[in-house]
């Protein structure tokens, strides 16, 4: 009796503790989700602590990460400047800028920040402007509340609700013209925990420009509205001008480093097919949002859009940033350089291993089937003049590829025939080379050559003509080679 009661008791206890255990399991997971739940807070409800001035940077650099701070009241001080700059060598353009650069200053925020935006229009500017930030939830992206005349300042405030990389631009009529003159930039809203750290971060923004003159036409080039409407760009560039990311201004990285590009496209019209020659993108946040694509060669970045692009550089060399609508890269300026320095890794990329000649007829010495029967036909010897003419033709089709047009040969590869001591020393030897080819080291005019010349498939008459031409050109000794001489050499080894 006691036993059964005990059993029941035990069973009850067991089931009770099972229940307890199960419950605690659930509560545990509930607890952990609460920890992760920090990111599940409605961004609107994120509280800000204190306030700070935003660090704004000029391209291609970006401000420091926001990972180590909480959401804050961020004061952004943005000045609009209309000023002349250089579009390309000898080409000036009047840019309208946010912060004095194209693209405008990079703004780095974190989700939940309350941004107090001070937009200042410099008194020397001619036009009113405003700003539309794609990170803003509100009418016009802020444009409605930020219309400001020259010599005045306007303030509005917004809360960053969604992480991502966003474009900002001026939206004053005519909007296309304001954007086309360079009024665009990027604002980053980092997630709660900040973006994972990388070794190098860079800010690159593509834009298309429309000038009265053609690409490269010198002098100050005014904006051309009709071309802009026709979407007929003269310049497609990174960071506002041709060569902004080349030469001394090239981006840099070391082998083994991770690179993140904050890449934007200000437009106004063209979509970018962004590619880095020599690299594959490890991660691309598609359109600057939350979706991530991996192992991407070329990514589409719409006008008024952006993408975060990460890759690790493994070998040294110049990586070339381009818009792969390729004529834009090479004829309109959509080209930048990322210079990678450091030790090589031959396994990943070896560089050129070797180079040599490639002869489609076949490789080594060829022999023609021997003609045993002597030429029954009488030998009609051409005149020297005729031989020169025919020889010149033959030289042009047979010999010049290696020995070059004026017999100068190619250093370290093919010996010269012009004023060549080796040639002039022994005419029979020369004929034999033409008939049977030559390999091994020889010295001509003091230089060593060690290559292969194939036997030439020419008749005796042709050999005579071409060799007469050679001997009577370029300072050689003027020997006239006859068909008989050639025949003699050809038959020499048979006897």
């Amino acid at each position: 009796m006691i036993d059964s009661q005990l059993k029941i008791g035990l069973k009850r206890f067991a089931s009770f503790s099972l229940l307890l255990g199960a419950a605690s399991l659930f509560s545990c997971s509930g607890g952990s989700s609460q920890e992760k739940g920090v990111s599940k807070i409605n961004p609107e409800d994120i509280k800000v602590v204190s306030e700070m001035m935003a660090e704004l940077t000029a391209p291609p650099f970006v401000p420091a990460s926001t990972a180590n701070r909480q959401a804050t009241k961020l004061i952004v001080d943005m000045e609009i400047l209309e000023e002349t700059g250089q579009m390309a060598d000898g080409v000036d353009y009047v840019y309208w800028t946010f912060g004095g650069t194209v693209p405008g200053s990079f703004i780095r925020t974190k989700v939940g920040d309350e941004v107090e935006f001070h937009l200042k229009n410099h008194p020397d500017n001619k036009l009113p402007h405003n700003i539309d930030l794609h990170a803003v939830t509100g009418p016009g992206g802020g444009a409605v509340s930020s219309f400001v005349a020259p010599g005045h300042e306007i303030v509005f405030s917004f809360k960053t609700l969604k992480p991502g990389l966003y474009v900002y631009h001026c939206a004053t009529a005519p909007v296309g013209m304001h954007i086309a003159n360079g009024m665009y930039g990027l604002i980053l809203v980092e997630p709660e925990e900040g973006l994972p750290p990388v070794d190098k971060e860079y800010y690159v923004m593509q834009g298309d420009f429309y000038t009265k003159g053609k690409y490269g036409e010198q002098g100050e080039q005014p904006f051309d509205m009709q071309k802009a409407i026709d979407e007929d760009a003269d310049y497609v560039v990174f960071n506002g001008k041709v060569g902004a990311l080349t030469g001394d201004d090239a981006l840099t990285a070391k082998v083994g480093e991770t690179v993140r590009l904050y890449f934007g496209n200000g437009g106004p019209n063209l979509v970018s097919s962004f590619h880095v020659i020599g690299e594959i993108f490890d991660r691309v946040t598609v359109e600057g949002g939350t979706l991530v694509n991996e192992n991407v060669q070329t990514t589409l970045v719409p006008a008024g859009g952006a993408a975060m692009i990460e890759f690790k550089v493994d070998v040294p060399g110049e990586l070339v940033l381009v818009d792969h609508s390729i004529f834009r890269a090479f004829n309109k300026g959509a080209l930048g350089i990322l210079n990678v320095t450091g030790p090589e890794n031959k396994k990943i990329y070896s560089g050129t291993i070797q180079e040599g000649i490639y002869l489609p007829e076949g490789g080594t010495i060829q022999s023609m089937p021997e003609k045993d029967e002597k030429d029954a036909a009488p030998i009609v010897e051409l005149s020297k003049a005729d031989k020169m003419a025919e020889g010149k033709k033959l030289y042009g089709s047979t010999c010049f590829a290696c020995h070059q047009a004026n017999g100068e040969g190619i250093a370290n590869a093919f010996p010269p025939l012009a004023k060549a001591d080796y040639l002039n020393a022994d005419v029979d030897r020369a004929i034999e080379i033409v008939l049977r080819g030559k390999s091994g080291e020889i010295t001509v005019n003091g230089e060593k050559y060690n290559s292969v010349m194939t036997a030439q498939n020419l008749t005796d008459k042709e050999v005579a003509s071409v060799m007469t031409f050679i001997y009577n050109s370029w300072g050689n000794n003027g020997t006239e080679v006859t068909t008989e001489m050639v025949q003699k050499v050809r038959n020499k080894n048979k006897k």
Partner: protein, 255 residues
């Protein structure tokens, strides 16, 4: 007798000079036209009037300040002029070094410009009057569809610091009036008849009849864009604003 005659001559001579120191005015024959914002059903009629040949200069405004000390920088009230008023002046009546007395007067508010014209027995031109005179080039009363005319204006928008140039340095138009384009923006009597919110993309709908012209954007965009900027500028300023690139000239009704 002769000495009396000389006196009279001298009086006449000096009176002519002193009137010459006032602005020359050009007579504008009235007409009807459709401005940028207008529709075919509402052409605008402009009566005959006269308008200053040149914008008001720094030197002329200084004379006005001497006679009307209430408008000096230290005396003017904030309702009538903001902090940028006369910013290019060194002190109450002197320009900063490098400023040209014959350049157009800028950094004046609408109230100040209005008062100046009133003191000359004139007034500010209305927006319609201003646009009517401004739409001409050297040869034509209405040059708005001409490429050269529009390109001149659009290229001016990109030139910095044209407020330093002397009056008369741009073209003389059909009416004999100079510098309607190329020097500075200009106040008009009813500059606040422009309903732009600054959010230009939504300006095209709602009860914003003003920009139904915006729907007509097509092959004549050049013309619209050149004028657009003027309207956008007018929509961005308030009456007490003083702007470096904004000056004025006066007009007078003839009736």
């Amino acid at each position: 007798m002769f000495s009396k005659f000389v006196t009279i001559v001298i009086i006449i001579f000096f009176s002519l000079i002193s009137y010459g120191q006032k602005q020359d005015m050009a007579l504008i024959k009235g007409g009807t036209y459709i401005p940028l914002y207008g529709s075919d059903s509402m052409p605008v009629k402009v009566d005959d009037f006269s308008i200053d040949v040149y914008p008001v200069t720094n030197a002329e405004y200084i004379t006005f300040l001497k006679e009307n000390p209430k408008w000096k920088k230290s005396n003017v009230i904030a309702l009538y002029a903001d902090g940028a008023y006369l910013r290019h002046f060194k002190d109450e009546l002197t320009l900063k070094d490098g400023e040209n007395p014959n350049a157009p007067m800028t950094n004046v508010s609408w109230f100040a410009a209005k008062k100046y014209c009133e003191c000359q027995g004139k007034r500010l031109p209305t927006l319609d009057e201003w646009e009517y005179v401004g739409m001409s080039d050297q040869k034509n009363a209405d040059a708005r569809s001409k490429d050269d005319y529009n390109k001149f204006i659009l290229s001016w928008y990109e030139k910095p610091s044209t407020y330093h140039q002397e009056i008369g340095s741009t073209f003389e138009n059909y009416w004999g009036v100079y510098d309607m384009h190329g020097l500075v923006w200009e106040w008009t009597q009813d500059f606040n008849s422009v309903l732009i919110s600054g959010e230009s993309r939504s300006d095209k709908d709602g009860n914003q009849d003003l920009f139904c012209g915006g729907a007509a954007l097509g092959s004549t965009d050049l013309m619209n864009y050149a004028a657009f900027m003027r309207y956008a500028f007018r929509g961005s300023v308030k009456a007490n604003y003083s702007v470096r690139t904004l000056g004025f000239r006066c007009a007078k009704s003839l009736k």
